[in-house]
Amino acid sequence: MVKVGLIGAGFIGQVHARSLSKLSEASLEMVYDINVESSQRIAKEYKARVADSFETIIKHCDAIVLAVPTDVRHTYLEKAFKTGKPILCEKPLARTVEEGEWILRNVKSTHCIFTVGHVVRFFPEYVNIRNQVLKGKVGDVCEVRSFRGGPLPGWSSWFKSFKRSGGSILDLAIHDIDFWIWVLGKVKKVSARSLDRSENITKDHCYVLLSFENGALVHIEATWAYPPNSPFRTSVELTGSKGSISFNSTDFSPLSVHIEEKSFTESPAYLDPYAKMMKSFVNSVIKNSEPEVTVEDAFRSLEIACLALKSAQKESECLVEGKV
C-alpha cells in the first residue's frame, strides 16, 4: 500500500484525494494546505490526517502529490527533492522555463520518480483519437482544431493573476499543447494571441497556432471567456489525408440526470481519467519504473507554452529553439 501525502487542498487537490480513494493499491495518508480549513475538510472526507507542516508530510509518506498554484511549486519541490521521494506534480510543470529547467535538472540528479498531471493523456476519447492517428486511419494529419474551456474558474483567485497562473495559455492551452506534441512530435513554429495578461483577469481567450516539423498545422483555442455557469467543453476536429476525426464533449451524453437545481451529465467509466492518471503514478512507484508522462515530456510542453506566451506578448511568431 503506497501512502500518499497531498500538498494543496484546493479544487484539484480534492480531485486527487477522490482518485486515491478509488484505488486499492494506495491511500491518502496526510493533507497539507496553508489554509488549515481546506486540509481539514479533505482529511475528514477521505479519512486522512492533517499535517501541521509540509515537512511532516515528506517525512511520513511514501509519495507526494503536489497540487499548489503554479508559481509556488518550486519552493515546495526544493525540499521534496532532498528526500528523493516520488512526486506527482500538477500541470504546468512550472510558471517559467527557468523554473522548469531547474526541476528537470533536479529530477535527473536525484533520480526520483517524477510525473506531471497532463491528464488529457488519460481521457479515453483523446487516447482513442491518438490511436486512430497512429494506426493510420486518417492518413497524414494535415490540420487540427482543438478547443477547451468555459467560464473563468470560480474556485480560486490565483488564476486571475497572470504572474501566478500564466492565464489561459499556460493553464489551459498547455493541455492541448502537450497532447498534440504526444501525437504529432516536434513543433517548429508557434504563434499565439491572448486577451488578458493582467493581474486581474476577468475573462481570457487565446489561440495558439502550432506548426509541426511533420507539416501538421494545429490551431488550439483555450477560453475563460464564457459567462459563469456555462459548461466546460472540449472538442477536436482533425483533418487527415484519408479522412477526418471529430469529437465534441457536448455532442453525446452517455448519462444525463435532470433534477431540480442540480442537473448533471456524466461520461461514466470504470475508472475516471484522474483516477487512471493516479493509478499510473502509483504503479510506477510500486514498480520503481519510469512514469507514463515524464518530466522531459512536461518540460517540452512548458517550453512551447512559454514560447506561445512570448509570441502573444510580442504579437509575432516564434521559431522553436531560437531559430528566430
Binding site: 479515453p124 476519447e125 487516447v127 482513442n128 483519437i129 486512430q132 486511419k137 486518417v138 477536436v236 489525408s241 484519408k242 479522412g243 477526418s244 476525426i245 471529430s246 469529437f247 453525446f252 451524453s253 452517455p254 448519462l255 444525463s256 440526470v257 435532470h258 433534477i259 431540480e260 442537473s263 456524466e266 461520461s267 461514466p268 467509466a269 470504470y270
Partner: protein, 330 residues
Amino acid sequence: MSKMTVGLISSAHVHADSYVEILKSSDAFHFIGVWDDDQNRGKRFCNLHGVDYFDRFEDLISTCECVVVTSENVKHKEHIIKCAGKVKGILCEKPLAPTIDDAQKMIEVCAKQGTNLCTAFPVRFHPVSKRVKEIVVSKELGEIKMIISTNRGKVPPGWFTSPELSGGGAIMDHVVHVVDFLRWSTGKEFRTVRTSLGRQINKGLQVEDCAILELKLEEIPVTLDCSWGMPVSYPYWGEVKIRLILEKGVIEADVFSQNIVFRSNESHHEEWINYGDNADEAMLLSFVDFIRYGTDFPTAKDGLEATRVVEKAYESVKLNREVVIHGEER
C-alpha cells in the same frame, strides 16, 4: 490466480468475434480453441483470429474449464446439453433460448450435471448501466414512474433473419438486453406485454423487423422499441437508450454513445468509433469471478426470464392483445 482454460462452441453469432479477441489476449484466460458444427465457418473464423480449430468436439471440451456458446439461437439447447457435465461453467450467448421450453430444459440438464449455466448480458457490465442502477437504487430521485427505451440496430447478417435458425426477428434479437437491464437495475419482474408491429422496414425479410413493446414492470409502464430500423448509412451498429421518469427527475442513458466521429475520403457515410469501456471484456472477467468465487453474474434464470418476455411478446402478436408474463390474467 491460475488462468481459466476456455473454449468457444460455434462461431455463428456476430459477438463471437469480440469475445475471442478478449479471450485470447486477456491475462485471465488461456484460450484453447474453437469447435463449430459448420467446419468451413469455424476454420475461417480461426484463421481470421489466429486461434486453433478443433475437428472433434470431445478434444476441445476435455481440456476446457469453461466454454462460451455462440451458436445460432435454436442450437443453444443442443450445444448446452452436449457440454453439460463436462465443464464447470457455460456462458451462453443471448437470448438463452428462443422458447421457454428450451430454456427450462437447458437449466434442468445443467443443474443435474452440476454445470453453471449463465447468460451473456453485457449491457449490465457497462459503466453507464452501473451508474444508472446506482442512482436508481439510491432512491435520490424517488420511485420510477415510467420507462421509455430503445434497442434499435441495423439488420444483422446471415442466419439472424432465417426463422428456422434464429427463432424470430428483431423481437428475438433485441428485446432481451433492455429487459435484463431493467430487471437487474430495479429488482422488479415484468407482468404484461403487448406488442405492436409496424410496417416491414426491410423488404423481403422472413421475420419481423419493426416492433414496439408496451410492458408493465410491476406497476411501471414501459415501452421498448427493438426495431432493426437503422439504415445502412447509420454511423454505428445501433443504440441502447433508456429514459427513466422518476418522482423527482429524469435519467437519460445513451449507453453506447461515447464515440468519436470518423469521416472517410473513400466512403460517403460517417463512422462512430467507441471509446467507452469494453462491456464484453468486463462481462467475461466477471464470469471468471463468478465461477471462482460465486460473485454476482447473470444466470440462466435471468436468461429464462428474458426469454419469457420474448415468447409472450410473440404470443401477443398472435393473439393481438395484451398477454400476462407473470401473475394472474385480468
